[in-house]
């Protein structure tokens, strides 16, 4: 018995050690980004154009570009994803078609992001002739986040108690009226949570916009949805790989990285707390 207890202690020690390794990696990543990035960030950095061949000045165009791309992506994916989720939770019976649709969604979620980029390049940039532009990038990002939105909306919709629907139908409402007046209002916070998470995901993606939207050297702000844009993640990549003055570009990259991390994790944190509150209120 003593030997067994000893073995148990040893195993717990190992598990704890593994958890500590993960936690300290997370901690170190944040440590470097925050403490080296914070030195660079000030109001000018956030609101000015880049200067002197990307070796000085701010990152305003990149912030704006990321905003445009993610808003464009969500405008495309949110209506489509929510409608898909409505069909799956409200209308569909468990049959073969639904099984295939689900497999499709799961596999779309697993497609590598660079493949989305190639698809966007071939379809939006070349075939539909949108060029390297906000429109092409937004659509590509929209397809990328579609599975996330569908899953989140599905979860939110199916959390609405069945009795709500039955009450509405019993009052003589049609299925669509029930969805419109009962199901959607009761699941809107969950759907929003999913959208916030997807915005965070889209804001951080680089590979899909590499050939569809992003540019490094630009001296002006985009003036239409057919302009190419700077974007935060691409800016970091370009600063590290295309620059010729690493000593002045690495600090800018740290600053950009901190802005991107704050943006993405801020959104995640909002979604996380919203979801917890939402789940608690449902119980």
């Amino acid at each position: 018995m003593k030997k067994r207890r000893y073995k148990e202690k040893l195993a717990y020690l190992f598990l704890t050690l593994m958890v500590i390794i993960i936690l300290s990696s997370v901690f170190m990543m944040f440590y470097f980004i925050i403490f080296r990035g914070i030195k660079v960030i000030n109001w000018q950095f956030l609101t000015q154009m880049p200067q002197k061949g990307m070796t000085a000045g701010g990152i305003f165009p990149a912030i704006l570009g990321t905003l445009y791309l993610t808003i464009g992506g969500i405008c495309f994916a949110l209506p489509l994803g929510t409608s898909a989720a409505i069909y799956l939770t409200e209308y569909a019976d468990q049959n073969r078609l639904i099984r295939i649709i689900r497999i499709g969604i799961n596999n779309l979620a697993g497609v590598p992001s660079v493949v989305f980029g190639l698809f966007g390049l071939a379809i939006f940039v070349k075939y539909l002739n949108f060029g390297v532009s906000i429109l092409s990038g937004s659509l590509t990002l929209g397809i990328l986040i579609l599975p996330t939105i569908i899953r989140a909306s599905e979860e939110a919709l199916s959390a609405v108690p069945q009795s709500f629907r039955e009450a509405s139908l019993a009052l003589g409402a049609t299925k669509w009226q029930t969805i419109q007046k009962v199901v959607l209002p009761n699941s809107i916070s969950g759907i929003l949570t999913g959208s916030i998470l997807s915005i965070g995901r889209a804001a951080g993606e680089t590979a899909p916009i590499l050939f569809t939207a992003a540019t490094f050297y630009t001296m002006r702000l985009p003036d239409s949805i057919f302009s190419e844009v700077q974007a935060l993640p691409y800016h970091i990549y370009a600063l590290m790989t295309e620059g010729t003055h690493p000593e002045s570009q690495v600090p800018i990259a740290y600053g950009t990285a901190l802005v991107l991390v704050l943006l993405v994790l801020g959104l995640n944190l909002i979604a996380f707390t919203l979801r917890n509150r939402f789940r608690r209120s449902k119980k």
């Binding site: 593994m18 470097f32 898909a84 379809i123 991107l260 996380f272």
Partner: protein
């Protein structure tokens, strides 16, 4: 009146049905595009020579399109990442679901979720400025950006997938199993390792497969830290160049319609097929698991 109502409901239902079909539409669209743009390469280059060729010099004259170094590069780095990520990720999952108090559990889940939220370009950036130079000094390497740097970072990126899905699988193991094991006099650890983990094994395998899918498709990190040499990898301390990095790096300069362009789409086909296979396998395992556990 009633007929009009009925018609409207029917139209609405079909609009929703169409929306839910778009995922399949995009998936099929992606595969069609990849094959349409990738297959023309094999009018001029032997398929076996593409798959088995050992040198990738797309811009030389004459160009050589041997994808083997890139394919092996992808698998090599993925293999390295999984060796690190599976023990860490599964241990963390066991810790979270079986040992942690509710407070610690929530904290760990939040930390893991944050890890999942960090964009891949940030991992690559930290690889260049922190991990690479650090490894170079520690292991006395000629270059800090090599396979092991990429594998370490990719392992961190795979851990959230592996941990959260494994934890879900462990958590859903029926309580009866646990109680039966305790009743037989087993300790908590014996119960975990001999009862709970085996019962959750299909779920854990699914988690590992999906984690692998995430790693093999990861682009920005490997593009920035793997070193970029298109040679067959022989050790973890040498640079490598996976498929994803090659596509991202060369697509910008490849002329549309050239052999190089088609070759990059062919590479994407390989990548797409591998990740599709991983996802289908994960899906199959999960469905089978659900059926047997009910």
């Amino acid at each position: 009146m009633k007929g009009k109502f009925f018609l409207k409901e029917k139209i609405i239902k079909n609009i929703f049905l169409l929306s839910s079909l778009t995922s399949i539409f995009f998936l099929v669209g992606i595969s069609l595009i990849l094959f349409k743009e990738g297959l023309p390469l094999f009018r001029e280059i032997n398929f076996i020579k593409f798959l088995w060729g050992k040198s990738w010099y797309p811009t030389c004259n004459p160009p050589e399109f041997g994808a083997l170094p890139l394919i092996l590069g992808s698998f090599w780095i993925t293999f390295g990442a999984l060796i690190i990520a599976v023990p860490l990720g599964v241990s963390a999952a066991i810790y979270i679901s079986e040992l942690a108090t509710p407070k610690i559990r929530n904290f760990l889940k939040l930390a893991i979720e944050m890890l999942a939220g960090i964009p891949s370009v940030i991992y690559g950036f930290l690889g260049i400025v922190v991990l690479g130079p650090w490894l170079q000094k520690l292991l006395n390497l000629p270059v800090g950006l090599c396979s092991i740097t990429a594998s370490l970072l990719l392992a961190l990126m795979a851990i959230p997938t592996i941990t959260s899905l494994s934890e879900e699988a462990l958590f859903s193991v029926s309580k009866d199993y646990k109680e039966a094991s305790y009743a037989l006099g087993a300790t908590k650890w014996e119960t975990i390792i001999k009862v709970i983990v085996p019962a959750a094994f299909p779920g854990i395998s699914t988690a590992v497969l999906l984690g692998m899918g995430r790693v093999i498709g990861e682009t920005m990190t490997v593009l920035m830290v793997a070193g970029g040499a298109a040679v067959i990898p022989r050790s973890f301390l040498e640079p490598a160049r996976p498929i994803t990095a090659t596509i991202a790096l060369e697509m910008g300069e490849a002329v549309v319609g050239s052999n190089h362009y088609h070759a990059l789409f062919s590479l994407a086909c390989i990548l797409f097929i591998v990740s599709l296979a991983l996802n289908l396998a994960a899906d199959y395992l999960l469905t089978k698991f659900r059926r047997t556990s009910q």
